[in-house]
């Protein structure tokens, strides 16, 4: 266990250094703010344009739904990318994977450690985006003191699921060429579409809603939104299709699916690693 902890700590430190040592701290902070805020502004402008030409009275419920979902989606994009890109960057960019891989540590734990720095930066970006929304865009947030433990538990579970999904992708990327950017865009896109991040599941066709309900992130976004937004599910004009479940039930769904995804991540990682070793692909480079 102490080896695992030492690996995790060292990998987290390495990840932080690699993320932040390319520039001055103030520029790093600025960089960490601009990207998520600009991402939020794309949605703000989409809303502004629609209101300007289609619905002059506005739709605050829809806007809050979208804004909070988008803020927490920063975790998804960042943590997923931070996890699966470890293998590809070590293999293709730094070409150090062979040295790390043969060292007497758990490479699985090493990947988790490398991703930890991304989580730290994401917490900061999510907070900035939410505060910006509250201060300048009229987003109404309200977290009751009694809901704080539930919020923390659901956030930890949500992040664990993200790490598990990232490891699954890492296992697959053992076998593929350098598709970091396709994966970085595509997999979050999958969750963007099916998990009710920016629009409720009711917008999707039945089969799309079924896919969404099979992904734990759907429940994470739903419970987070319930705890943070002041509009209650019964008064909101947005039909999430999950109003029939109370918060503890949603949390239960999240717990069960998190455990399932953790098991899946170990399985996919081991299978990917096995076939990569067999095919001699652990340290391949595909630079075209």
């Amino acid at each position: 266990m102490s080896t695992y902890w030492r690996t995790f700590k060292t990998a987290a430190w390495l990840g932080w250094e690699m993320d932040s040592n390319w520039t001055e701290p103030w520029l790093f902070v600025l960089y960490s703010i601009i990207k998520p805020v600009a991402g939020a502004f794309i949605l703000v402008l989409m809303y502004v344009v629609f209101v300007a030409i289609g619905r002059p009275q506005g739709d605050p419920d829809a806007f809050s739904y979208m804004y909070v979902g988008n803020s927490f989606f920063i975790f998804v994009a960042s943590v997923l990318f931070g996890t699966f890109q470890v293998i590809q960057s070590d293999r293709e960019w730094y070409q150090t994977i062979r040295y790390v891989y043969i060292s007497p540590i758990s490479y699985y734990v090493y990947i988790l450690g490398r991703a930890a720095s991304k989580i730290a930066v994401s917490v900061f970006a999510v907070a900035i985006t939410l505060v910006f929304g509250v201060m300048f865009l009229g987003v109404r947030l309200h977290l009751a003191l009694t809901d704080v433990p539930l919020f923390l538990v659901s956030t930890i579970l949500g992040l664990s699921v993200l790490l598990a999904i990232g490891i699954c992708l890492g296992g697959i990327s053992f076998l593929t060429a350098k598709h970091t950017h396709g994966l970085a865009e595509g997999i979050p896109g999958l969750f963007y579409v099916f998990c009710g991040v920016l629009f409720p599941l009711s917008v999707l066709p039945e089969w799309g809603q079924a896919i969404g309900r099979a992904i734990p992130l759907t429940y994470w976004f739903d419970i987070t939104r319930r705890l943070l937004t002041s509009t209650s599910a019964s008064t909101s004009t947005v039909n999430t299709t999950l109003q029939g479940f109370d918060a503890p039930t949603i949390l239960l769904f999240l717990v069960v699916s998190s455990v399932g995804f953790f098991g899946l991540s170990v399985l996919i990682y081991k299978v990917g690693e096995y076939f990569a070793r067999k095919a001699g692909k652990i340290d391949m480079t595909t630079s075209y």
Binding site: K35, M46, I53, G54, T176, G182
Partner: protein, 325 residues
């Protein structure tokens, strides 16, 4: 003058050499990438999901607006609908605007493919080549370095076209977007002028990124969402002018990226200049084409100068090929 020297200064030989360099550098992108079958899934299919999300947002807004119009009481704008005819008129307007906005997203998604290719496979490429040790070979090779960048650009355009085409096809067949192309020749002219200007910018960035070293990767990452926002990839750029104060300033700054003007012109040519009530366009198409041609020429010239500066620096400091800096 020796025969070899005489041959190297011969114009026909130099043109042939540089054309071969263009073909040679574009070859691995066009052929090499397609040898990896998983590429199609990762680079063409998966990114479609991100575009789909933006399409569904507009559909969500459309559903919400429709529900308000059909609600009790039925709302037409800020007032209760006076008659069924007015209600129908508002419903038709919401449907038309939603379709036009979805079409805007599809066109923006097509351009996103090219912009990401410019950032990650043009601008960052020389830095990447340095890291993996190819740059010194390029610097020693006898062809013009612009031919090398040209080859990268041609290969990148062809490679990215698949993703762009799949986005368009998905837009038409999956999301039911209707494009009305009245002037296909002008559309092609705008499209290719936009691409040349974009890749010219990428060629310029390629040299600059090499000078900026490790910040290059982060700069590329930083030029995704902020550029998608300021250049109106997912909404008509004119929407920014609706925001008093900072909106027009951001729109003008974003217009320095050729994709913004190009997208505005492409949207006008495929949706009709009367879409959105004609209130969200920047200039007319002809003016935008002229601006794009000007940008293309300017960026190619600047790329040549940046590359020349880089070569001078390489010779003077002798550390251009030092890795991890």
């Amino acid at each position: 003058m020796s025969v070899a020297t005489d041959r190297r200064t011969d114009l026909r030989y130099r043109v042939g050499l540089n054309l071969r360099a263009v073909v040679g550098r574009s070859y691995p992108r066009i052929v090499g990438a397609n040898r990896e079958p998983s590429w199609i899934f990762f680079e063409a299919f998966l990114p479609l999901l991100g575009i789909a999300a933006y399409v569904f947002i507009y559909q969500f807004f459309g559903f919400q607006a429709t529900a308000a119009i059909l609600g009790n009481p039925p709302m037409c704008g800020n007032h209760v609908c006076a008659s069924v005819a007015e209600q129908n008129q508002y419903l038709a307007a919401v449907n038309a605007n939603t379709n036009a906005l979805i079409a805007s997203v599809v066109l923006g998604g097509t351009m996103v493919a090219f912009w990401l290719n410019v950032l990650w496979s043009m601008a960052s490429q020389l830095y990447w080549e340095k890291e993996i040790g190819n740059l010194q070979l390029y610097m020693m090779a006898p062809m013009n370095r612009m031919a090398l960048l040209g080859g990268m650009a041609v290969g990148g355009m062809v490679m990215t076209s698949m993703r762009a085409v799949s986005t368009l096809v998905a837009g038409i067949f999956v999301f039911g977007v209707i494009f009305q192309v009245a002037n296909p020749l002008l559309l092609l002219a705008v499209f290719f002028a936009t691409l040349v200007a974009l890749y010219g910018l990428g060629m310029m960035f390629a040299s600059l990124y090499l000078l900026w070293g490790r910040e290059a990767w982060n700069l590329s990452a930083l030029m995704e969402e902020p550029i998608f926002f300021s250049s109106g990839f997912y909404f008509p750029l004119g929407g920014l002018f609706r925001i008093p104060g900072w909106g027009p300033a951001v729109a003008i700054a974003g217009s320095f990226i050729p994709a913004s003007i190009g997208l505005d012109a492409l949207r006008q040519l495929t949706l009709g200049s009367t879409a959105f009530g004609g209130s969200l366009w920047i200039f007319n198409v002809t003016t935008e084409l002229e601006i794009l041609v000007g940008m293309a020429v300017l960026f190619l010239i600047l790329a040549r100068y940046c590359l020349a500066y880089l070569e001078t620096l390489a010779k003077r400091e002798g550390k251009l090929t030092s890795r991890h800096q």
